[in-house]
């Protein structure tokens, strides 16, 4: 169980990159996230797709903060999609949402997403 890791796949084209995340974002996700971000070189927009993420803990939040800091230095805009309502709340509480665009989309596993 401690070795559950994150799969992060980067698709980049025309100055845009999308990082598809699958699994859990915790301390074991450090390398996968770092490598995926490294592959976005040259892009000015990076979309993080959380649709297949089940669990994000505070260490995962810290990793995302680290990625945001790098993106700011590299002048890359970050957008997130596919966040469950719960994690969207956490992104708001932690103010991660102030530094990325969060797309309202159709993930419905946590109550009614159109509620807000």
């Amino acid at each position: 169980m401690p070795n559950v890791t994150l799969e992060a796949t980067t698709h980049a084209a025309d100055g845009r990159a999308r990082i598809e995340l699958r699994g859990d974002i915790d301390s074991s996700a450090r390398e996968a996230l770092g490598a995926a971000y490294a592959e976005t070189a040259g892009a000015h927009e990076v979309l993080l797709d959380f649709a297949a993420v089940d669990y994000i803990n505070s260490t995962g939040i810290a990793l995302i903060v680290g990625m945001l800091a790098r993106a700011r230095a590299d002048a890359r805009a970050i957008t997130a999609r596919g966040l469950s309502r719960h994690y969207r709340e956490i992104f708001e509480i932690t103010r991660l949402s102030d530094f990325m665009t969060i797309l309202d989309d159709d993930r419905t596993d946590q109550g009614d997403p159109t509620h807000e």
């Binding site: 169980m1 401690p2 070795n3 559950v4 915790d26 301390s27 074991s28 669990y55 803990n57 505070s58 260490t59 939040i61 810290a62 990793l63 903060v65 680290g66 945001l68 800091a69 700011r72 469950s84 309502r85 719960h86 709340e89 956490i90 509480i93 932690t94 103010r95 991660l96 102030d98 530094f99 946590q110 109550g111 509620h115």
Partner: protein, 535 residues
């Protein structure tokens, strides 16, 4: 020159040369000299001391005309020449020399040699004296520490090893000694018919005598309680037993009550102890009964009072170490804050945790605890439905990833309860984060140290208690996470755990019992945050 060995020592020092020691010698061979060293005390008011303080150089003992017992003693020892040992202008001893083997007088050369010797020996002798004084001081300090350890041992030995198992009641007790051991004590005495004697007391004074009086009081009380039952009679008997033997200026305050757990009936008497507090049905009161402290005057009588503790009622017995603690402005903690916390209800361990937390915040961490603190809390199970129960109770090894197991089991335990999906997710996140904190900060991710998780619920709330083995350490308050600072690298990107937990649950409680540190996550079952936020 014949063998002229001598040594002298004085405790001297800057305070007073209260025991100026001198060593006198018969003329001996050098080999024998060492063994023959004798020293005797010269009274500080002996005229010889004054004489040598004003003189330098060797002095013929026989030429002196002083009414001095020391001089007489020196002569009796066969000393013929005395050279004062002076260092830094202070007389620290005498170098005493016997007769020459040839029976001739000492020559001017002999005297010069002895004076040179004395001048060189004096600082070395002084160093020797200082070392000896220091060693004596260390021994004395060791004795004091040993005494404190003995007092502590007595004290600990006479405090209950375990809490009574009382059907329909919750009991918790806490004792924290001040640095110098005081005389606080508490006790639970099993009585016939399932009744329970409740004792809390405080012996004035500290250290071994207080601990001894505490032990005696406890023993007499235990013996009397079995035979006499009535609390006023018991205290009167204890008082009569203590009075003849108790050291002067020492006395004992003591509350004694007899509780019938089945009915909640409590009969009590009080020998001048802080009034126990009761919270029941939204009302607060104290257990007042008049009586003199124990050990002051014989043949005292003690008023007896009674009350019935209704379901849901809480009682707190405490010592003055709680209510008389001061903050930096010398303001006292007082009973008002205690009454307020007691009135909130909740379980006894949580109450004690909250009281100690409030006290620590009040006094400030750097202030040393003034007096022992003793707390005994009892709560009669309330009229809650039978659903008030432990839903799950398990332990996890401190291994990365095990927070998921905690999350899964807590979610399963919470499944039957009416929580919105969103609140369920919040409880899961709070559980995972608190478990990670426990494994990392409490247990340092040492596999063999467990994290215990207990899920319980009553009619009002679902509570997840998560404890680790880090209770002995104070919890360092974390910086509030600031995303701007984190993005600028002024703050570590980490440090979100507690911040998140606080925002996920309706109430967060923390407590330490010296071994384990416990975090309690409370989700209200009615209203709660969803009600506020989503309507």
């Amino acid at each position: 020159m014949r063998a002229a060995t001598a040594a002298a020592a004085a405790s001297g020092g800057e305070t007073s040369p209260s025991e100026l020691l001198a060593a006198a010698h018969e003329p001996l061979s050098a080999a024998e000299a060492q063994e023959a060293t004798e020293s005797f005390e010269i009274a500080p008011n002996d005229p010889l001391v004054a004489y040598f303080q004003g003189s330098v150089g060797a002095v013929d003992v026989n030429a002196l005309d002083l009414d001095s017992p020391a001089l007489t003693a020196l002569r009796a020892e066969g000393v013929s020449l005395v050279v004062p040992l002076i260092t830094n202008g202070e007389l620290i001893g005498l170098l005493n020399v016997g007769r020459r083997l040839s029976d001739q007088d000492f020559s001017a050369d002999d005297r010069r040699l002895l004076e040179t010797l004395a001048a060189q020996a004096a600082p070395a002798v002084r160093v020797g004296q200082l070392v000896r004084e220091q060693q004596a001081e260390i021994r004395a300090r060791g004795r004091i520490e040993q005494e404190l350890a003995v007092a502590q041992l007595i004290q600990q030995n006479f405090l209950p090893k375990q809490l009574p198992a009382l059907g329909g009641w919750e009991v918790a007790a806490y004792y924290r000694a001040a640095r110098a051991v005081g005389g606080d004590f508490y006790d639970f005495i099993e009585l016939p018919d399932g009744r329970l004697g409740l004792v809390i007391g405080d012996v004035t004074d500290k250290g071994v005598p207080a601990a001894m009086v505490m032990a005696a009081t406890r023993s007499v009380l235990r013996a009397s309680a079995q035979r006499l039952i009535e609390p006023g009679t018991v205290l009167a008997r204890v008082n009569d037993n203590l009075c003849p033997d108790i050291p002067e200026n020492m006395f004992v305050t003591c509350f004694y009550g007899v509780l019938d757990p089945a009915s909640g009936h409590l009969r009590y008497a009080n020998a001048g102890h802080n009034l126990p507090l009761v919270a029941a049905g939204g009302e607060s009161s104290d257990l007042r009964a008049t009586g003199m402290p124990l050990g002051l005057l014989p043949s005292m009588s003690y008023e007896e009072r009674e009350t019935t503790l209704a379901p849901g009622a809480s009682v707190l017995l405490y010592s003055d170490g709680l209510v008389e603690a001061h903050d930096r402005e010398r303001e006292m903690f007082g009973t008002e804050r205690v009454v307020e916390l007691l009135a909130r209800g909740g379980d006894c361990n949580a109450l004690i945790g909250e009281l100690l937390g409030a006290l620590d915040r009040f006094t400030g961490e750097e202030l040393e605890q003034e007096d022992d603190i003793t707390l005994v809390a009892l709560r009669r199970a309330g009229g809650e439905p039978a659903g008030a129960a432990v839903l799950d109770d398990f332990k996890l090894a401190s291994e990365p990833g095990n927070e998921r197991e905690a999350m899964r089991r807590v979610a399963a335990a919470a499944a039957p309860f009416a929580l919105t999906p969103e609140r369920r997710e919040r409880l899961k996140t709070a559980t995972a984060e608190a478990t990670m904190n426990a494994m990392e900060h409490g247990n340092g991710y040492r596999r063999e140290l467990d994290v215990a998780v207990r899920v319980s619920a009553d009619a009002r709330a679902l509570t997840v208690a998560i404890s680790d083995c880090g209770g002995a350490r104070a919890i360092a308050p974390a910086d509030a996470p600031d995303i701007d600072a984190k993005l600028d690298g002024r703050q570590s990107p980490r440090g979100w755990g507690l911040f998140l937990i606080e925002r996920m649950v309706d109430e967060l409680r923390q407590r330490s019992d010296g071994d384990r540190h416990t975090v309690e996550l409370v989700m209200n079952l009615e209203g709660g945050r969803d009600a506020e936020r989503d309507t």
